[in-house]
Subunit: 188 residues, 2 copies
DNA sequence: AGTTCTAGCGGAACACGTTCCGCTTACCAC
DNA sequence: GTGGTAAGCGGAACGTGTTCCGCTAGAACT
């Protein structure tokens, strides 16, 4: 029954990589709602190929931003080693918002990842939850952050903030982060 | 130049009213992404008529929920007269979340109204901002709520929470409201 | 009531996202 | 190298959302 599962064809791998590369660039330049046909054409493949590799727009978005998202999430662990927990948390959140405002489509993508319960996003979502958990954990240890708040809840609010920067200003986003931090730090 | 602006045709008014009625019902029953053609058909008009009265999906959503939204916003003023400001604020926010979870499509609609900078929503958005401002104002007067937070910011976070209830649980939404309230009430 | 005028109507035409399927071609066994 | 096989391909076909335009019928005026 298992048989010999034939190896993935080399051209398929190349096409996939090329699609990803093109998608990341195009999303950054023109936003997430670029026509699938345009991405496929630029990658030199038919639309069918695009849809086979990435069955939904979400799957493509997820894959396209995965790498950068990993970098941002890794920063959480690094910040914790170099700053007090509360400070690290604030820095990371600010960094997160900067990241969200850096490129067209980015904030939209982040929000899609955070808010959606859809399947292709679960990995990316876990990545983010992990980063927040690291920060909250450190805060719990040194007592600077309250312990009765779930990482998922914080992440959700950050998603709301990221969503806002699409139409609001970066300053507003900063104020919202401050407000959230106020809520998270203990009232001592 | 002003001339006599001919009165609006009676059938046009009827059609508009019927579309609104149908849209409100259909949105509540099946969510916001119902086919425009279905709404038009149920209202006994062509799609062209639907699009003329409501050029975008947003305009239709806005109009369909306007009445109910007014009721919710009016509650803010009423709650302030009967409760201490902080308590009124918490009650209203909870009420708001209940409202958001009450019907299919509602939370989606609220989020669209709050988060979008799009034109057709400005009135509804102002309604909500006004309600929040009333509550924050009362809180500022009796000193129970911090004064350095803009109504728009609070509204935006509530939008984030409303967004979350689409995929999260009502309990999570409740926790987020509590967190937001903690941030808003002074650390005295 | 009859006539004029144009706001408003309906649905056909168009545009675009997604699915589907017959053909191509890389992989593997010999 | 050659042949068999199915993974993978491209783009035509399909379904939906939106726009457009010739025709209908309500409003204003006599």
């Amino acid at each position: 029954m298992p048989a010999t599962p034939r190896r993935t064809r080399s051209d398929a791998l190349e096409n996939r990589a090329r699609l990803l590369e093109v998608a990341a660039r195009v999303f950054a330049e023109q936003g997430l709602d670029t026509a699938p046909a345009a991405i496929a054409k630029q990658a030199g493949v038919g639309v069918g190929t695009l849809y086979r590799h990435f069955p939904t727009r979400e799957a493509l978005v997820d894959a396209a931003y995965r790498h950068q998202l990993t970098l941002v999430c890794d920063q959480a662990a690094e910040l914790v080693t170099r700053h007090p927990a509360a400070e690290a948390t604030r820095l990371w959140m600010t960094h997160f918002i900067d990241y969200a405002t850096a490129k067209t489509g980015m904030s939209e993508a982040l929000n899609a990842i955070i808010a959606s319960g859809v399947d292709p996003f679960v990995d990316s979502r876990a990545l983010l939850t992990g980063a927040v958990a690291t920060l909250l954990g450190a805060g719990a240890e040194d007592g600077s952050v309250r312990t009765d708040v779930a990482s998922e809840d914080v992440l959700l609010l950050m998603g709301g903030i990221a969503y806002s920067v699409q139409h609001g200003t970066k300053e507003q986003a900063g104020r919202l982060v401050d407000l959230l931090m106020d809520a998270l730090t203990k009232n001592t």
